[in-house]
Structures are given as C-alpha cells and as structure tokens.
Symmetry: C3
Subunit: 340 residues, 3 copies
Amino acid sequence: MTAVTVADLALLVGGRVVGDGTRPIRGLADLRAAGPDELGFVRDAKFAELAAKSRAGAIVVAEPLDIGTAQIVAAPADVAFAKIGLHFHPVPRAKQHRIHRSAVVEDGALIGEPVEIGAHCVVGERATVGAGSLLGAGVVVGADVRIGRDCTIYPRVVLYPGVVLGDRVVVHSGTVIGSDGFGYARDAAGWVKIPQIGIVQVEDDVELGANVTIDRATLGVTRIGRGTKIDNLVHVGHNCAFGEHCAVAGFSAFSGSTIFGDRVVLGGHIVSAGHLRVVDDARIGGNSVLYGDVTEAGDYLGYPLQKKARWGRTFHVLDRLPEVFAELRELKRRRDEPGE
Amino acid sequence: MTAVTVADLALLVGGRVVGDGTRPIRGLADLRAAGPDELGFVRDAKFAELAAKSRAGAIVVAEPLDIGTAQIVAAPADVAFAKIGLHFHPVPRAKQHRIHRSAVVEDGALIGEPVEIGAHCVVGERATVGAGSLLGAGVVVGADVRIGRDCTIYPRVVLYPGVVLGDRVVVHSGTVIGSDGFGYARDAAGWVKIPQIGIVQVEDDVELGANVTIDRATLGVTRIGRGTKIDNLVHVGHNCAFGEHCAVAGFSAFSGSTIFGDRVVLGGHIVSAGHLRVVDDARIGGNSVLYGDVTEAGDYLGYPLQKKARWGRTFHVLDRLPEVFAELRELKRRRDEPGE
Amino acid sequence: MTAVTVADLALLVGGRVVGDGTRPIRGLADLRAAGPDELGFVRDAKFAELAAKSRAGAIVVAEPLDIGTAQIVAAPADVAFAKIGLHFHPVPRAKQHRIHRSAVVEDGALIGEPVEIGAHCVVGERATVGAGSLLGAGVVVGADVRIGRDCTIYPRVVLYPGVVLGDRVVVHSGTVIGSDGFGYARDAAGWVKIPQIGIVQVEDDVELGANVTIDRATLGVTRIGRGTKIDNLVHVGHNCAFGEHCAVAGFSAFSGSTIFGDRVVLGGHIVSAGHLRVVDDARIGGNSVLYGDVTEAGDYLGYPLQKKARWGRTFHVLDRLPEVFAELRELKRRRDEPGE
C-alpha cells in the first residue's frame, strides 16, 4: 500500500498534527500490533498507557496525549480514524468493466460502465445495474431489479424481482431482499396465500449485513431509508419502514408494518410486534421487545419496554426476586402470627 | 395483465356483487394507491372512510358498505382477497420445459416435464424433480433428493442429499434443508460428532421463508407437515416435527425433537427447549419460551409460558416492579418501626 | 454398505461384547425402526423396554441389559455410538482429485491433491485449499483465503478474502465467514463506516452450522478455537473469540469482542452484550443474556444471568408474580385498615 504522511492524513480529516508530520503511514492497526508505518487509534484517555507502549507510527486522538508518538488530533476521533481507514481501505467498487464469462445477463438488462459482475452471477430481464457497481460471485438479480451507482453486492446475495437499490448501497453475503412477506388467510381447508406483490426499496448509502432477510410489501413498499445500517441476521417483515440514518444491530426481527423514524438506534436482539411506530431519535437497547408505539425520543430498554432509567430499577428488582419473595413471605408470616 | 370483470371475480370466490359488476379489474392495490381498474380490500368497518375516499374500481368486503364503489361481498373477506390475488399473481411454476445451459444435472437424475431449472443450478445424482416444478438460479439439489410436482424453489436454496419435498412446496431463497443436526458426544479429547443420517420430509403445500434452516434427523425424520407455513430466519432442529396447517412466524428456533400437533399457530421469536410436545390447536404468542409440554389447546404466552390471560397479569406486575418493590420496602419499614 | 461384525465394532471403540459377536452390522438405526443388520443405542436404563422389543441386530449400551440382543458395552455409550456411526458414515472428504469444469479457479490459487471442487465454485486469487478438502457446489472462496487439509465446505458457503480455516473444519451451507463487522462512527451527516480489515481464524476440527455469520475483526482476529462446534443461525460479531472445545447451540448472537474461554457450553438463544469475558468451563443455559463477565466456572442461566440454582428460584417467583402481587396488596390493605 502506498504511504502517505501523517500531515496528509491530518489534512484529510481536518485534524491537527502533534509531533512528526512527515512520518510515512501505510495503513491502520491495533495499538498492540501496530508497526512504525501504521496508524493507531485512542478512543479515550483510558488507553493512554497502551498508546505510550505502542510502536505505532502515529495515533489518532481526540485530545493530544503527552507522549512522543506523532498524533493526529481530531474530534470525534472515531470519525477521523474511520475516514482515514476508508482512504486506505475503500469499499470495493467497480473500476474496470468486467463481466465474468460465466455470468448470465438476460435480455434487456441495462448494464452501466464500468461494472464488475462476478462469476456465476445472474442478472434478470430488464434489470439495471448502475456504473461503478460491483456484483460478487453468485449474486442473483431478479427481473426488473434496479441497482444504482457504486453499489457493492457481496457474493450470493439474492434480489427478488422488482427490488430497488439506490446508490452506494452495500449488501453482504447471503442476504435476501424481496422474498414474500408472511401473509395467509385462514380458510376451512388451511392457509390461503395472500400474494405479496409490493416491492422493497433500499435507499442511498444503506449497508446491510450478512444473511439478512427483507420481505417485499404485500402491497406498496418495504423501505430502508437513506444511510441506514443493518447488521447480520436481521429479519425485516413486509411493509416495514426504516427512516434515514438508523442503526440496527444484529439478530433482530421486525414484524410486518413496523415503522421507524429517522436516526433510530436499535441494539441487538430486538423484536417488534408489528403495526407500530417508533418516533425519530428513539434509542432502544438490546434485548428489548416492542409491543406498542414509541412516541417520544429518548432511551428505552427492556421487556416490557420502559424508559431506560426505569428499566434499570426493574432489572434491579428482577435480579433480587428470590429475596423480594422471601421478604414478602416473612411479612406475611409475622402478620399471621398469633402474637401479633 | 388481462382485465376480468368484478362479477367474474365474485364468481371465483363465491361472493356477491354490490354495484357495477361489469367494471374491468386488472390487479390488486392498497386502497390509498388503487386506480379505477384495481381491486382494494377492507378488512373491517374501521376502514370504511378510507374505502369511501379510494379511487379503487372495486373493493372486497365482508359486509357491504354504504358507498358508491362496486363491492364483492364475501366472508371471510381476506380469504376472498387472497384467492383473487392468486388469480392475478399465481405462485410461479414451470410452464415450459427449460433447463438452463449452465445448470448441471448429474447422472441418473429424473426430471419431469415441463420443469424449469435456472442458471447455475446443480441437480445431484438420482435426484427427482416433478413436473411443473421451478428451480430458481443457483439452487443446489443434493443426491437422492425427491422434489414433487409444482414446487417453487427460489434462488440459492440448498437441499442436502436425501431430502424429500412433496407437491406444491415453496421454498424461499437462502433456505437450507437437511444440514446436520447439532449432535456431539463428549469425549476426554473433545466433542465427537454423532453422524446425522436421517432425512427431512417436507409435505405438500408447505411454504418456507428465506434463510430458514431445517436440520436432518439424527436417525429417522425431521418432518414439516402438510400445509404448514414457516417464516424467515427460523431454525428447526433435528427430529422436530410440525403437524399439518401450522403457521410459524419468523425468527424462531426449535431445539431437537420438539413435536408440534396440527394447526398450531406460533408468533414470532419463539424458542423451544426441545424434547417436548405441543398439542393440536395450541396458539402461542410471540417472544415465548417453551420449556415443557403444552397439553391443552388454547392461547399461551410468555416466559415462563402461561395461559395468555394469566400472562397478561404477570406482564402487568413486571411493568410495575419498581413500585411493587417500593411498596414492599414501605411495608417492611413500617413493620420494623419502633412505634409499631 | 459393507457389513462389519459386532465384535469388530466393539474393538473399534474399546467395548466388550455381550451375546453374539459374529452378527453382521451394516449401519445405525433408531431402536424402533432398526432391522436385524442394524445397530441401535440405549442411552440409559429408561430405554431398556424399548431395547427388548427392538429388532436391532445389536445395541450399544453403557451397562449390559438382561435381554437376548447382542450388545456392545462401552462407556460413555454415546461416544461409542458416535464413533461407530462415523465408521459407517464418515464426514465426506475428497478422495479423488476432481475440479468441476464449471468451477472458476483464479490465478495463483494453490490447490492440494486430492481436492474436490464442486460445480459453480469460485476460488479466488492466491487462495489455498489443502489436500483432502471438499468444496460443495457454489462455494465462494475469496482471495487469499487459506483452507487447511480435509475440510468439508458444504454448498453455498462464502469465505470472504483473507479468512483462515484450519484442518478438518466443517462448514454447513449458507454460512458466511468474514463479512464486515458492524462498526460506524457517527458524524453530523450520518454514519461513517469504520473499515473492517481484520480476519477470521477458524481453527482445526471446528464445525459450523447452516446460515451462521462470523464477522471479520475490525483490526486483528475473530477466532473460533480448536474443536469448537457452533449450531445454525448464530451470529458472531467482530473481534469475538471462542476458546477450544466450546459448544454453541443454535440461534444465538454474540456482540463484538465477546471472549469465551475453553470448553464453554452455551445453550440455544443466548445473547451477549459484547466487550465481556466468559471463563473456561462456564456452562450457560438457553435463553440467557450476558451483560457482564462470567469469572467463575459453573452453571448459569437467565436474564438477569444468575447461577443456575438461583435462577430456578427467580423463575419460580416469576411464575407466581400475579399471586405475589395479590399478597402484597392484601398485606397493604390490612395494614391500612382502620381496625389495625
């Protein structure tokens, strides 16, 4: 990897150099493993000692540390470190126009230039793939799918017919977008399938993790809003909607028609009952269950879902239930004692 | 899409026409988005106002509404709407015989006619695929698998060797059927694999969602009974059995040898501890954990699993735990007060 | 399958023969279904009656039963049964060197001999595949991946670039190893991706179930230790580490930087909050949530996570919450009664 000076990297993120700005840097590393041409990162003062011992050529910090190592001072430091990281390790995109000979591109598909289409891909009839987009091996793009510009679709993703992706969308392997929502009507003879004829719309700058499933709407649209990030093994039911810039940690499931506002942050292993709304700027901690609307921004947690501070108290009692029970029994016993 | 008159559609579902039965209909739509050649749906009187404002050409209703729009009156209305929907959007099946040139069909495989086998599919030795069945791109069918007639296997499904599917089975993308059950014996040196040599049997009219996993039996059969529907990201352990016409919402996991009767309905995010039985016609709400048998039909919920009505009371207390704790403390304080 | 005598099988597992050791055995079966050339298994005396009725040619037992059937007495019996099972049904490995004509092997890939590479596989640049390893159909091996000897990679697994597998690793279908960890920094404009440039290291004798996801480290290594077994639909976050010989039942999720020691046993549906440590020989029951370190070996359970015995008492109270509440109310009522 080509080296860049510490000063150049500081410039890239609008940071200030402390120490030797001429030092060449070739990449990122953990403070413990970094070599003299690598850049480390100190989230906060807690890691100052580790930084002092590190062989890293330079360190990104929010506040300058009193050590000899060259430093790029920028706040927030994690944003600066991320941006420098993306300089060395950009998200893979198509640079040359390359359609693997084993890929199958159906009639009427519209392929921009440059586009990379990996081995054993299938691009369905009338699908479009925007310039700069990269499809890893074995990706299946259904008929009438629209993939925007500069998207990164990792191997073995499936996009069902009619799915729409914006620009710079990243989808990790094994993820399935546009499968049928779970909808049946109960007849005397059993379940009658309700056709799922809506679509899924994934807006610009969304990133989806591995083995995620996003169902198409029954009618209308299942929507993942601009800039939203979803982690691995998440199920998004039909007609759900995420607003813009949400973050959804892994191993969660959202029943049909759960509607999230903008900038909602969800911890891992959250489940929603469906047909409910969560307001902009709600932050819901991991292992929570949503049974009703969240109408006010703030921090929530638990099952039952409560304001985070309240859940702390609930959790405290849950953790003492055997003693609570014993105390109650003791009170009762004394109440019932003849001597009383 | 070819148009059909409102009267024809009413005939299809045994419904009654109110208003103009000659109006041509070309498809389904949400009431808010429907145009004059589209059919809408009103689940109940709550949506009457929405129906009155809709531009839909006709509406399926359980009870006639006092509005000018043409109506198909049929009960249950959702079944009627589903059946009409399937008229316009039938489940995709093979109509012509087409085996993609890139598909690999091994020796001794028995392929009915017509069958559609998509690009980059693999059909293993001695596997059978019944007439009318459709395999999307990249489906892997192991040796000795038997796929019945009129099945729809979406892209990138994997069927391990020996798996058996009945007729009209639908399997969504990324689903894996027949992987090894999780079975090991503990030796001094570590875990010794217990070979998983049973099969998976998926009966007629089953539908499985995306990224589902169904493990083969250790010995014998893991069975998904006729007409059962399973949603996305569900794990079915080895030797589990579902009876007929069950419905299993997404993001659930059933440990080995969980045995469900017929017509069991399971909400999302349910986990079973394994080696237990659930009787016919049990309905278990989402976010429940099963540790023991359910021996009586009815509605259940929670962790601990309780009759639904009881869980309502349990949940009420859970939601008030801080106050419960405070009251207990207050009682204790007053009990211990010297003045007492 | 070739027959082997009962005596030969006993020899294989260091067991003792009771009854007719000359009887030929061709495979394993469930006691209820076994025929006279099949071997059954009796876990404990509870199944003695079933064994007496079985038509099995021989039975593996820990203690001899007073029945006429030939018996292989070995303890632990499940280990003996597993080892005999592996004799009849060994894990599939490459015996002949066969690279399917549709497979794509990129420049500089180093393929041992014999290796089986299935249809539509892709092996990336500079990847290595050790002798004896078998890649099922549609496996995608990224650039610079290292696969050891005698590995079994089932169809449609994806290994991202740089992933390292040891020897005798088994990976089931749909599993994704090396996808990006979920890491973003929050900027005024939205989420900035933190490049995930570490790797995943899967050590010798690991087995991973179907549709598992294991994220690469941000920097450094996500590690699955030697002999560890992981079930279906498990999410392992970036920078997690499992020690040696752990067992992880299905449908679980471990947030970033969860560090497990050796021989940890985890039930199904366990979630960890991340950045925590679990000591060697901890056993954590299903449906538990880990919020902090587990510093002492032993059995744990629940949410809040407690020593197993304590959780039993907690669960007892949870199951009686409506009555607990009623009792408290009654105590309060009597306390407040004028008569007091």
